[in-house]
Every structure is written in C-alpha cells, then in structure tokens.
C-alpha cells in the first residue's frame, strides 16, 4: 500500500478549482497550498497501480501543470515481493500466445 508525497502545481488562476477537485479523491490528502499555486499532498493508495492511475488523472487535468513526486514509500509491496507473495509481473510481459 504505497504512500507518496507530491507537489501539484496548478495554473494560479485555477488553484481553488483544483483544490476542490482534489477533494473528490479519497486517496488524496491535501496539507496546504502556497500563493504560487503549489499544493502539498499525500497520496495513500491500495496499490502502485492505483497510485499511477490517480497521478495520471491529476496530471491530465488541464488546470494542472505538473505533479512532482518527492517521496515514495512502498515498503508493504516490497515486503510482499521479498516474500514472494506478489511478483512484479506486468500483464502480457511474455510473448502473446
């Protein structure tokens, strides 16, 4: 269950709208924003895939200029991988049959 710290930069005139939209994601915790439209947020997801999906959705918002990751912790998944419970085997990484 990965956790990341991110800085989401919106276009300055759309900061409030972006903050409002971020509230719709239960996985996103907003910790603050500055006058330059930088938003400090924590993403807490059930899987790396969900993390990817959320970042991608935020990134594709036209009012968002950039999502910058500063910290990522996936120790739960790493532990699972180390114990062989969950291998990082993406779909279709072998030749199609």
């Amino acid at each position: 269950m990965p956790i990341s710290g991110v800085i989401i930069t919106s276009t300055p005139e759309h900061l409030d709208e972006v903050l409002s939209e971020l509230q719709q994601f239960p996985q996103v915790e907003v910790h603050g924003a500055d006058e330059k439209a930088n938003i400090v947020a924590v993403l807490d997801t059930t899987s790396s895939e969900e993390m990817e999906t959320i970042i991608d959705r935020i990134n594709k918002d036209e009012k968002v200029l950039n999502v910058g990751v500063t910290y990522l912790n996936t120790e739960d998944e790493a532990e699972q991988m180390a114990q062989g419970e969950k291998l990082p085997k993406p779909f279709g990484f072998r030749k199609p049959q």
């Binding site: 400090v40 500063t70 990522l72 779909f91």
Partner: protein, 795 residues
C-alpha cells in the same frame, strides 16, 4: 491515540513535499524519524535520463522499498519524475539475468555456464578474431548508461590491449552532433553554462525538444520560472510538433520538418538587419568561418544571410507562422536580459545535425547571450552518462579519454604513457563509427563484438538491415545486460551484470556534473559489476594472446575488490592521469570529495579544495573557472581555452539551409518523426517490466494530424500502416493536433515486431558527426482496419 507506522510514513511524506516549498506544516518532524525506522537511505543518481537528478533509495532488510529526492541537490532540488519514481522497482524483477548464458550457434538454446567458462569463451573468441583480422576484426559497442569507470576500462582494453579503436556507443545515435557543434563553434565540447541559468533566464528558446516528457524535472524548473514571472519571462517553443512542452510557451513556431536551418538563419538575419547583435562581444571574442580554414568577415556573413528574410523563411517552413512572428522571436532572443536555448534530438538526429547546432550557437555568439547568468546554449543530454563516460572517458572511435583526438600522435602518446604501455600501441586511425561498425558486421569484417548495456537490434535506424549482420553465425556477439533484450536474443554469450545501486561508479550529466552512486544492495544471483568482468576477461585475454601489454592494462587493478576499491582505482587513474590539465580536469573530484557532495562536482575542478565548492558553474569566465585564469592569454574576462580552436575565439559559421536526406514525394507523401514518451525509457527493457509504467503506455501508436486523418479516413484507434522504403509498422492511430499537417509521429520504445519504428527510420548520417537522421524520413500512411485488441510485448 497511538499512531500506526502508516501514519508516520504519511506525515513524513507530507513534510518531505512541504520542505521543498519552504512551507511549514503543523506536523512534528519526529514523525520522519519514526517512518525511517529500519530503513537505510542510500544516495545516488537516477539513471533514466541525462538530467542527473539526485535521489535516495530506501532499503529495508536488504530490499529496496522507496525513493525520495535529495532536496539540497542543485539538479532536481528534491523532485523526481514518474520514471525516477519507479525505476528501482525492476531491480528485483524475476526476469533479471542471473547466470552467464552461452550457445555456440545463435539458433541453439542458451545453456547456463560458470563465470570462468564464460570469460574463457569471450577471451578465446576475441583472441581468435584478433589473430585473423587484428584490431579491425574486434569491436566494443557501449552505452551512455554505463558508468564512467566501465566505459573507460573497456576502451582501455580495446585500444591498448587489442589495439583497436573500434570503440563506440549509443551516444553516437543521440549526442554526436551536439559534440560536433560545441567543438566547431566554441572550440570545446559540452555546455558553457549550467542548469542554474534556468532560474536567471528571461527568455527560453526550446527547439527540437519535448522537455516536458524527456526531461520533466528541468521542465518543472522552466515552468516555475515562467509562472513566477509571467510578464517578464518569455518561452519560445520551436518544433514541428506541438507537445506538452508547448503548454507554457508564449509562442510556438511550428515548422515543416527539416526547415529549421532556414528558420535559425532568418533569426540571425533579423538580428543583423535590426542591429540587435552585441558589437563589443563580437569584436572581442568572435570570428567568422565558411570552412575550418576559411575565415570570412561580418560583412560576408551579412551578405550570406541576405537570402534568409523572415518572409522567405516563413514560406520555406510551411507557412504556419508569419514573418512577423519570426521577427518577434528574434527580438525576444536578442534583447532579453538572459536567453537560454535548450534542445535535444530534434537538432541532433539530423543529417545536418552539426550545422543545426552551429546555427543555434551562432545566435548566442551574435547576441552575446553567453557566459553571463541566465544565458547559455545548452544541449540537453538524453542518457545519464553520455557526457561523463562516453564524451569525456573516451567512448567513441575518434576520441581518447580527456577530450583527446585519436589522430593526434602527441595525445595518443600521453595516454600510452599514462597507461604504461609502449608508445605507438594505440592505432593512429580512428575506428569505425556506429553505423560503419554495424555495416562491417553485416559483411563479417568484424568477427567479435562486445555490446554493453544497450540494444542496437532495436535502436539502430533501418534496423532490419543491420539485424541481418547480427544474425550471422560467423560474428561472435557477447552482451552484458540486466534483462533479456532483442539484442541478447542475437548473442552467443550473455553475461548478467549488476544494476544501478548494486555497484559503485560515477555518472556525468548534461551540465558537466559528475556524481557518484555507491553500492546499496547485493546483485541477484551471479550478476557481477562490469569492472570485474572486464578485468577478468582481460586477464584471460593476456594469457591466450601471450601479450604482456594486456596484462599491464590491468596491473593497477589487481587484487582489488569489485564493489568499491576497483571502481575507485579506475576512477583515480582516469581523473588523476588523464584529465589533468585537460578542459575536463576532474582531479579534484575524488571519490572522497564526491561522497561528501549532495550533487557532485562540475568540471573543470583541478583541486579537491575547489571541487568541494561544487566546481565550475560557468566555463571560460575568469574568477568563476580556475582554468580561465590559469590559461589566460590577455586581459579579457572570457578565455576560450578549449582544445579545438587554436585562435581562442568563438566561431560564427555560414551554414545554409539543407534538406533532409529523404523528403516526402508522391509515393511516400508524409514525414515521419520519432521521439520519447514520459513513461518509457529507450528500448523498454526496464520500464516495460514496471507495471505502473507499462500500463500507462503499453504500446506505441502513431500520432496523425486531424486534417490528415480526415483526408485518409482514419479515426482514433484505427489500425494504420506506416511504411517507408525500408520497413513497415502497423500501429493504432492517435488523432491529435500535435504533429504539423503532413507529418506523423511515433514513439520508438516498443519492442514488438509490428510496432518497432526503427524498421521504418532512415540510416542517413551527418557527414561530420556520423549521427543518423532518426527524426526525418518519408512514409506512406494507410488505414488498415478499425481498432484491434493489442498486447504489450517485452522479450
């Protein structure tokens, strides 16, 4: 209420992000300590582009578990991109190569063998090839992702051991034209300025670069600069394709592929006609050239530019911008308080790549937009160590370590003396450049080749042609890699290597900055660091060839353990003996110094004391570059001491517009251009194995301009054939107002045989840099069917 470990981690994550903004959060910083319990953070560099972001890999109980940016690093200030966030996840992937694999014939199945046997086979094959054809029959093809210690050591064994200058690497495919441009314009390779100019620039001229996707962390810095100064900072984007980078541009000049030389000349025309040049700068520092030995004058240059009126250029470029747009851009460029140009493969991967680079530098020399804060002509590197390892460490067929040319006897002798091998041991002629090397493999003139950390089967242009040679049974191929690739599939011997953070070594990024990454975790299985592999291979080679000079090449490294002592000894030999008093003087950047620095050292850095300040931010400026003082020849503040210009001036070149090698015609009516996407890296052997990245873009597609799509009846998702005179792809269509009308665009990462775009690209090369023209060729476009289910493919 008691807090859980997840609470501590979430608070640490919030504090981490807030710290980059200087924002205070009502969270106790002791949460970070609690989150870090049991975790060791190992500092190093990201390895998935040329920016050189500093990161820390979190390791818990020997397993990598997280990554964070290094806030005090002047490359990324703590930010990392999507690739950087995920790259470490492939470290423990089950596909990692863990045993040496061998097969006598390429049609046989691989068998696991011991390291002793594997190195014996490699040595026997190279010794046999050498006996038959001398140094010309053997070759090394390396990578801008190999550590400097690896590239340097490989080329030492090739040149002094096997007496072969057949030393090349994939930077030939991406940076060679930038090298040619810097040498011929400024007399010295690599940029004068640094990333720190980004925060001081008032005008950005971004040409032939999708910085937002290829160098996202630097894009973030440009974006921040623009957003903080929306009225006073201008961003100019010049590209045939509108991309993510265009989002922050004040103006985008979209031009027909291959016409940018006319565009750049027209900007010079405006600057000259409107007297926007810096007369004093020109008088003190610049001269004009038609050829290397043909000096001209400002008047000649002005006459040469007469034909490049903004009106003529706007027409030549396809008519999607006006002559006045071009005038505006030239004025912004010339008159800003500091103009910074940034480019990557759009200028380099061209048949006129060196010329395009020269024309870019011309604008900076003319306007004096150089050497002062906020002004620079900066080529963005694609790979993490193309500059450090390959350009500086002697990784191309015509250059020796320390920016020395092979053809200069005095410089060869300096290298031979440093290595303690007889004078004359290094052959006097450069070896074969990349495309000539693989042509020689097609003809089996090269009998044994070592391919390290790269996959030419997929990355060479017109790859079908060269793959035939690599299939030949009379060409022995050994590859060193961490994963199976399309190239390991054509190899006889595959040697498993340690990955980043599993070994120690130095990367040198775009801005002359060298940074160390130390071993943090063990390699899986029997994978070994390349430096150990090279030494042990050379030892066997010396025995089989009964050649004491090969032994001499490894004597300084005998008995050293491979995780730290061996790479350090190699780095010391290279920096202390071969960069001394060269323009890339790295003597001060010892491991001891590099380990103390959050973000390494920028050369020149002749002493440890100076290196500990961070090194040289601006080359050639007295008081800011120690060599500008020690090499000073007059009272002027700038001293161009680079090795290529004996007259110590900057050269402004007459370079005409010249068409690409292949332009569309009635039979092949579209331009094809290729490039990179944010989620993937090169041939996808790493990023294709990281589920998050693969899912984001599981397969390549072709971008088609909506007007072209309408004319051809292509709808989004339809399957489309992209065919050139060399090869064909079948890809889903993305109908998108990105590429200019008449041009299609395909990402080059996909390994699938139907979507591998380098089957289609052209292998024409720049006559100076020998870099292929990946960016432009002519193709047919045809709708095949409606959308089809596709699956990603990784070898």
């Amino acid at each position: 209420m008691a807090q859980s470990r997840r609470d501590f981690i979430k608070k640490a994550a919030a504090l981490s992000a807030a710290s980059y903004l200087g924002m205070s959060l009502p969270i106790d910083p002791r949460n970070i300590a609690r989150a870090n319990e049991g975790v060791i953070w190992h500092r190093g560099s990201c390895r998935l582009c040329g920016v050189g972001c500093r990161v820390e890999l979190g390791v818990k109980d020997g397993t990598p578990m997280g990554i964070r940016g290094v806030a005090e690093s002047r490359t990324n200030f703590g930010y990392i991109c999507m690739k950087g966030m995920h790259f470490w996840k492939c470290m423990r992937h089950p596909d990692r190569l863990t045993k040496p694999l061998y097969r006598k014939k390429k049609t046989d199945k691989f068998q696991e063998i011991s390291w002793d046997k594997a190195l014996d086979i490699a040595a026997t094959e190279f010794a046999t090839a050498h006996k038959e054809g001398g140094g010309r029959a053997v070759a090394y093809y390396g990578s801008g992702q190999a550590l400097t210690e690896e590239t340097y050591f490989f080329q030492k064994i090739m040149r002094a051991g096997l007496q072969s200058n057949n030393v090349e690497g994939n930077p030939r495919l991406c940076m060679a034209s930038a090298v040619g441009g810097y040498l011929t314009s400024f007399g010295a390779d690599e940029p004068i300025g640094s990333y720190s100019d980004l925060e001081k620039a008032h005008c950005f001229f971004i040409v032939g670069s999708n910085t937002a996707e290829a160098h996202p962390v630097l894009f973030r810095r440009i974006m921040r600069r623009k957003l903080d100064n929306p009225d006073t900072v201008k961003v100019i984007n010049v590209d045939p394709r509108i991309s993510q980078t265009s989002r922050i541009a004040d103006i985008h000049l979209q031009f027909k592929p291959g016409t940018d030389l006319a565009l750049l000349n027209a900007m010079a025309h405006v600057i000259v006609e409107e007297k926007l040049y810096d007369e004093k700068f020109l008088k003190n520092y610049a001269t004009f050239r038609k050829g290397k030995n043909v000096a001209t004058s400002f008047a000649d240059f002005k006459a040469h530019l007469a034909q490049y009126t903004p009106e003529a250029a706007a027409k030549k470029c396809g008519g999607s911008f006006t002559a006045d747009d071009l005038r505006t851009v030239a004025r912004w460029f010339a008159t800003s308080k500091g103009t910074m140009s940034l480019w990557s493969m759009g200028l380099n991967q061209r048949k006129q790549g060196v010329w395009a680079n020269n024309l870019m530098h011309n604008l900076h020399i003319l306007t004096g937009q150089l050497l002062k804060d906020g002004a620079d002509s900066l080529s963005l590197t694609g790979q993490p160590n193309a500059c450090g390892g390959v350009r500086e460490g002697g990784g191309l067929c015509h250059i020796l370590p320390g920016h020395r040319l092979v053809v200069k006897e005095k410089l060869r002798n300096e290298v031979e003396a440093a290595w303690g091998v007889p004078a004359g041991r290094i052959p006097p002629k450069p070896g074969l450049h990349t495309m000539a090397m693989f042509s020689a493999i097609n003809e089996a003139k090269i009998k044994a080749i070592w391919i390290n950390c790269t996959s030419p089967v997929q990355s060479l242009p017109n790859c079908n042609l060269y793959n035939k040679g690599m299939d030949r049974e009379d060409v022995f191929i050994v590859t060193t890699d961490i994963f199976p690739t399309l190239t390991t599939q054509k190899s006889n011997l595959v040697l498993p290597t340690s990955f980043h953070f599993e070994k120690t070594g130095v990367f040198g990024c775009t801005e002359r900055r060298s940074q160390i990454t130390k071993k943090a975790i063990d390699s899986p299985g029997d994978a070994m660091p390349e430096v150990w592999i090279i030494r042990e291979w050379a030892r066997k080679l010396a025995e089989k060839m009964n050649d004491p000079v090969i032994t001499q090449c490894i004597v300084p490294f005998d008995g050293l353990e491979e995780d730290y002592e061996l790479p350090m000894a190699i780095w010391n030999e290279y920096t202390q003996k071969l960069t001394a008093k060269r323009d890339n003087d790295l003597r001060g950047a010892t491991y001891e110094v590099l380990e103390q620095m959050a973000d390494g050292v920028q050369w020149p850095a002749p002493t440890a004391e100076y290196a500990l300040t961070g090194g040289t931010v601006k080359k050639f400026v007295k008081g800011r570059d120690p060599m500008a003082d020690t090499e000073s020849k007059n009272d002027l503040p700038y001293q161009f001491y680079g090795p290529a210009h004996a007259d110590r001036t900057l050269w402004i070149w007459h370079r005409d517009q010249a068409d690409p090698d292949e332009i569309p015609d009635a039979e092949y009516p579209f331009y094809l251009s290729t490039g990179r996407i944010i989620d993937h890296w090169h041939t996808m052997s790493m990023t294709g194995r990281i589920p998050e990245l693969l899912r984001a873009n599981p397969y390549a597609y072709v971008e088609v301009n909506p007007k072209d799509a309408e004319r051809l009846g292509i709808k989004p998702g339809d399957m489309v054939e992209v065919k050139s005179r060399r090869g064909v792809n079948q890809l889903p269509a993305k109908v998108y107002e990105g590429p200019i009308e008449g041009m299609v665009f395909v990402y080059w990462h996909d390994q699938h045989k139907d979507r591998m775009i380098n089957k289609v690209t052209k292998d024409a090369i720049d006559p100076g840099s020998k870099e292929p023209e990946f960016k432009i060729c002519a193709v047919q476009i045809k709708r095949l069917s409606g959308p089809q289910p596709l699956r990603p493919y990784i070898v």
